[in-house]
């Protein structure tokens, strides 16, 4: 495009010269104005963040586990998520070390700060060997896995199934300690939430002794 036609496009008569000073001011004004408009987006986007009410809803919950018999599971709600408390039988505990080679992270070494508190970094992923406390949310896409405690062949599971959990969404499997099997969509073990025993039968979920 030639100089003359460009000028006429911008409404400047052909042959007239461009007032550089005026143009610089126009550009500056547009940039400053644009920055102002962009800054206006901040409060709008910020409203998408969790509200103060949502943040406050994360208090710890106290659970009485005296009624849970070996081989049973109870579910309690903490921060809107299901937390499972499973009393494992001695037979189930004995199976755990045997399936280590089939697991993606048998020693709970991945993301230990997020997934496994120090007191649960053991073969059973628990404080007391028989009592497992995990958040029942699959580390893949947030579904809640189903109980498949019964060992042996069954639909969607291998024939040598040792008992554990199956995620109905994408087929990830977890053992009785919430450890994920290899080559499954879920990358990590189930999260062990911070928890502590207030007494032998009372459990506090959401807080531990460190805090």
């Amino acid at each position: 495009m030639t100089q003359a036609s460009e000028a006429s496009v911008n409404g400047v008569p052909p042959g007239a010269s461009v007032d550089k000073d005026k143009r610089n001011w126009l550009v500056t004004t547009c940039v400053v104005g644009g920055a102002g408009v962009a800054a206006t987006a901040v409060p709008f986007v910020s409203t998408f963040q969790p509200s103060e009410k949502a943040k406050a809803a994360g208090a710890a919950v106290e659970v009485d586990i005296s009624g849970v018999k070996p081989g049973e599971k109870i579910t309690v709600e903490w921060r809107g998520k299901p937390v499972w408390i499973v009393k494992r039988t001695p037979a189930q505990l004995a199976e755990l070390p045997k399936i280590d080679p089939l697991l993606a992270d048998p020693k709970s070494e991945r993301k230990p700060d997020e997934l496994t508190p120090e007191y649960a970094r053991n073969e059973n992923r628990s404080i007391k060997p028989e009592t497992l406390v995990v958040v029942g949310i699959c580390s893949h896409l947030g579904c809640s896995p189903s109980d498949k405690f019964q060992p042996g062949a069954q639909p969607s599971l291998p024939d040598d199934w040792a008992g554990g959990f199956l995620c109905p969404c994408h087929g990830s499997t977890f053992d009785m300690a919430g450890r994920v099997y290899k080559n499954k969509p879920a990358p990590d073990n189930l999260e062990v939430p911070p928890h502590m025993y207030l007494s032998d039968t009372r459990l506090l979920i959401g807080e531990d002794k460190k805090a």
Binding site: F48, S51, G58, E77, K81, H140, S144, S156, C167, P185
Partner: protein, 513 residues
């Protein structure tokens, strides 16, 4: 501004009124440009009904949607009940609701067929690239509408479907978890999520959608409609009558408006039959689990998206760690082939990018796994070696994470998201992927028709697998299907030019009936 037109004071009152308006708003001009003097090719066939039908369904969705909002409550405690209230207590509310829920599925049926028409006859080729791109953007908006609308009844499928899809965003490295939090507005899908999805579903996305529909039609009427022969009826060499109108075109109104009324009648018969006799359509239009109120503590035994999302959902599920590693190898092979044709700096650049991508895809752990299949001890040895390699930088922010990603790959679920998104985004590039010398399938080599046939069957198989619970054989089939889907598009620049093309006639093929 147009010239101010004076007409005789003796003109009939209607003519004078129209003239008054036309001097102030281009009503007659718009009517002529888009209806009475919009010349469309005279050889349209059955496939050309779906554009009009999509407009019809859009109107149905907007009107029924407006009436649903009058009784619906976007509140986690009330939403499920308010939908049941509409179904049971609001006079005729059940009909409005079933029209809306069936309309959602009908929208996708019509739009998929409309898009396939474009694929068959090359309607996305020059100069219709923008028509196609606006159309793809409409498709994206529709998917957003469908996804967010499905949360509103607050049933089990609503809840867990949203939970899964929002968590997909959490798989994006670095920003993912914060992004998912920003979308949900809470740590799990909850009241805040429902409320904002409602706002997006009823106003934000529809506004964008309407704007895109307008752009789609303006662009179409600027370049003119394609036709089953792919012959330009308004091109410089196309025959025209004395008035300059294409002889192979007929005015949209009255010819195609009347023609479309027939198609609309047929469509409405089927649509009504479904609404009245099978509104749930065997659990495919309204899933049975969605008649159970949302329970954040219990995932239903089997969750699957509604049928129109399942082909993409299958592709998402197909990306396991193993498949990601295989994709890494494919990336390297493709780069080596591409590098042979490049020179200078591009040659090593392509290879470096491909190797980087392959590492992020988890090439190294996949190799360890494959070796482990043959020699278990060697496999675990390599895996331990990789762990050791990733360890030294483990605690370092950003750099440590990046290094870890190079050694161990990014989670397969992230790549699942990339593949699912890519499957839709790749459609935008179709105008530049198709290098065939002719537009229409009619003049392409016969094996191109089989190629399209396999593409359709593949898409349907992926859709079927997406409805089914996960299984080992289904996973393998969906992995092959995913490779075919992407191969179809990514290799199109090559295969679309191959074979013997038939001569394209100068004018459209038309037999009067």
């Amino acid at each position: 501004m147009a010239e101010f037109k004076e007409i005789s004071p003796d003109a009939p009152i209607a003519v004078k009124a129209m003239n008054w308006i036309d001097n102030r708003f281009p009503a007659s001009k718009l009517y002529k440009e888009h209806m009475s003097e919009y010349y469309a090719p005279k050889n349209f066939n059955f496939w050309y009904i779906f554009g009009s039908l999509a407009m019809l369904v859009l109107v149905i969705q907007i009107v029924t949607g407006i009436f649903l909002t009058m009784n619906y409550k976007p509140d986690a405690a009330l939403a499920f009940g308010s939908v049941e209230y509409i179904m049971r207590d609001v006079p005729w509310g059940w009909l409005i609701r079933y029209m809306h829920s069936t309309g959602a599925s009908a929208f996708f049926v019509v739009v998929y067929l409309h898009m396939f028409r474009g694929l068959l006859y090359g309607s996305y080729r020059k100069p219709r690239e923008l028509v196609w791109i606006f159309g793809c953007a409409i498709f994206l908006c529709l998917m957003a509408e469908a996804f967010m609308g499905y949360l509103l009844p607050w049933g089990q499928m609503s809840y867990w479907g949203a939970q899964v899809i929002v968590n997909l965003f959490a798989a994006i490295p670095f920003i993912g978890p914060d992004l998912a939090l920003l979308i949900r507005g809470d740590y799990v899908v909850g009241d805040a999520t429902l409320n904002r999805f409602f706002a997006f579903h009823v106003i934000a996305v529809p506004l964008v959608l309407l704007g895109l529909v307008a752009a789609h039609i303006i662009a179409l009427h600027e370049v003119g409609s394609n036709n089953p022969d792919g012959v330009e009826i308004k091109g410089p060499n196309a025959p025209k009558d004395a008035a300059g109108h294409p002889v192979d075109g007929i005015p949209f109104h009255p010819y195609y408006t009347v023609h479309d009324i027939f198609g609309v009648s047929m469509f409405l018969m089927i649509f009504s039959a479904i609404i009245f006799f099978a509104p749930e359509f065997g659990g495919y239009f309204l899933e049975y689990n969605n008649f159970i109120p949302a329970d954040p503590l219990k995932t239903p035994a089997h969750i699957a998206p509604v049928w129109y999302f399942t082909p993409y959902y299958s592709m998402l599920r197909a990306i396991t760690g193993e498949m990601a590693g295989a994709l890494g190898i494919i990336a390297i092979v493709a780069a080596v082939l591409a590098a042979r044709k490049l020179s200078g700096i591009f040659k090593p650049a392509v290879l470096v990018i491909a190797i980087g991508a392959a590492l992020l895809l988890g090439l190294l752990p996949s190799i360890a796994n494959w070796i482990g299949l043959i020699a278990p001890s060697a496999g675990t040895g390599i895996a331990h070696g990789l762990d050791a390699l990733a360890k030294p930088l483990a605690g370092v922010p950003f750099l440590g994470e990046l290094w870890g990603m190079m050694i161990k790959g990014i989670d397969a679920k992230f790549w699942g998201v990339v593949v699912m998104g890519g499957a839709v985004i790749i459609l935008f590039f179709l105008p530049w992927l198709d290098h065939s010398p002719v537009k229409s399938i009619r003049y392409r080599p016969d094996w191109h028709k089989y190629m399209y046939g396999i593409f359709v069957v593949n898409f349907l198989v992926l859709g079927y697998l997406g409805v089914q619970p996960p299984s080992a054989i289904g996973e393998r089939v969906s992995q092959l299907g995913t490779l075919f889907y992407f191969g179809f598009f990514l290799l199109m620049p090559w295969w679309s030019q191959m074979g013997t093309f038939k001569p394209v006639p100068d004018r459209v093929v038309f037999h009067a009936h």
